[in-house]
Symmetry: C2
DNA sequence: CTGAAAGCGCTTACAG
DNA sequence: CTGAAAGCGCTTACAG
């Protein structure tokens, strides 16, 4: 392996001069510079990041953690990381325990954490208290936390208002829980739900509010719920159902279609989280869209600012959401 | 930051003794051991990986590169990495140039590369010639390369045979190209296509063979092709179409449905690469399934073997594929 | 503008 | 079983 010393020897200068030439952070005479560059290039020299990082206060590597890997967010995160010269290390929270988040920072591997739609607020509080952290998608209420989100209350309000304006009268909301507790995100959405219904003189009866545990792949709760709806007397059945989790909404749509229930006439289904699949199923699924790729990009930029200790204009970025009205709810 | 020295001082021993105690690779007296562990735990010591890696011959970090991030493969890769104590660094090949793959190894950041459905064979040859590399999904023909794949010829043969057995007579194959050239994977599939058709006495007329450039998100070529099919005289139109790229098959199904073409009666559509979406669209889409998560896991294990210089039982793992016959092709 | 020294946190190799 | 020395590849801080 070619080291700084090898380049120095070949160029007939000290290691320091090579370091300075390559980093360009101190003046070097043109002649020396030329010799150093020639030597480096002749030896095909590549600086070793381990050596460099051992002294630096941070190391341009971040951890991205979440329950699963969200391609759209990852793409944005990665694009920004690439521009900023950062590396991205992956972590799947289903396969790690809480201590692992912190360990990867404390052992010098990474300099900060980006949580991607993470719901475990305790874990985030634990990490955020001591290390650079940014939450992208879902966010906690931590004092001084850096977050990249949309306004969940407003988003829910938009979606539920639209359903009410269509004349729907029994509008149900199926929110997600983590370990039995609703995450902050769902509480915000519930506020929007209640506001929208109140504005239209509708009742948010307890029988219209459901909670299912957030499990990434398991569709059982959504199917059980769908079957429960199907067994109800049509006059009492909700005429609109909104899910926190997109996969659950998709499963519900499919279940209803199998039984011949007419969407969007007899019942509307929608999701609080738009995914690419929603454009492709029949009927297409109405959902709240978020600019995930841009959010990922900004979250990464924000994290870099924090890591490098540069001041942040704003620690809480709120992106505009977009109501993607599609076939599963029908026209206004 | 707490270092080895701090622990040594507190335990009243040398740094070496602390290192040996924590690594457990040399005998240490029980009494010393207890004192060291107590000190480490009291100081909440975490060994710094940069210091460690600077001396080690490899660093338990790998690069995962591909055109986009495939959740199923990543999940498998990450699970194995986690078991083996490896870190996974991401790279999006659309956002990097070829030199970046090699640079991240040569600068000591990572010790090997795992290519995920990568099609750029030249790039892989360049990397594989000098560094530990494993190809997962698609693979090149490189001498001595480590690959984790399915038998593409057999997979194509299975799918096309099924269509022929259904009585389809004008079976089209839309293969992908990279920079105008078909990747090895498509050539193998083409072999399977030709064999299946020959076995059923069908002609693989040039008018039935199409190529579209592989672009991850762009559906334009698929839609253009679909429209071209729609304009044909039904008697001359293909009665079955198989796509290399799943998104193109999905787009084609949707286009056909919009126009009222009956699937699978008038025309069958299928894909060489099964994705979760295929179970959810209407009609559900027939495709060749691969055990991506397991493939990712084995690819990661293989890469670790290579990095650590341990002998490999077999450098070419071929997993069984599975023909997922669904609604878009109908019953036999 | 350039260099010699010391150090980042750890481990390898040598000595006892 | 334990330790002092040297070194991994780089950079910071001090001197000239």
């Amino acid at each position: 392996m070619v080291s700084l010393k090898d380049v120095a020897k070949r160029a007939g200068v000290s290691a320091m001069t090579v370091s300075r030439t390559l980093n360009g952070n101190y003046p070097v005479s043109a002649a020396t510079r030329a010799r150093v560059l020639a030597a480096a290039s002749a030896l095909d020299y590549e600086p070793n990041v381990m050596g460099r990082n051992l002294r630096a206060p941070f190391n341009r590597t971040v951890l991205v953690a979440g329950l699963g890997f969200v391609e759209s967010i990852l793409t944005g995160v990665y694009a920004a990381a690439n521009e900023l010269g950062y590396e991205v290390i992956l972590m799947h929270t289903r396969l790690c325990n809480r201590g692992d988040y912190v360990r990867r920072i404390r052992n010098g591997m990474t300099s900060g954490i980006l949580f991607m739609n993470m719901m475990d607020e305790e874990a985030m509080a634990e990490v955020g208290a001591r290390h650079p952290m940014v939450q992208c998608g879902s966010a906690s209420d931590l004092e001084g936390a850096c977050t990249v989100t949309v306004d969940e209350e407003a988003a829910a309000h938009d979606l539920f208002s639209r359903l009410a304006m269509q004349g729907r009268r029994r509008i149900a909301y199926v929110s997600a829980t983590i370990g039995g507790q609703p995450p902050l995100m769902s509480l915000r959405r519930e506020d929007g739900y209640l506001r929208a219904l109140a504005e239209h003189g509708l009742e948010a009866a307890p029988a219209l509010r459901f909670r299912t545990e957030f499990l990434r792949e398991d569709l059982t709760p959504a199917l059980a719920l769908s079957n429960r709806f199907l067994r109800l007397d049509p006059a009492q059945r909700p005429d609109a159902i909104v899910f926190d989790q997109n996969v659950q909404a998709v499963a519900c749509v499919n279940r209803f279609r199998e039984t011949g229930l007419a969407l969007p006439q007899e019942i509307a289904v929608a999701s609080m989280d738009d995914q690419p699949i929603n454009d492709v199923i029949q009927p297409t699924l109405t959902a709240v869209g978020r600019p995930y790729e841009e959010m990922g990009r900004e979250a990464m930029r924000m994290l870099a600012q924090r890591i490098e200790g540069r001041p942040l204009a704003c620690g809480r970025l709120v992106f505009p959401h977009e109501l993607m009205a599609r076939g599963s709810t029908g026209p206004l």
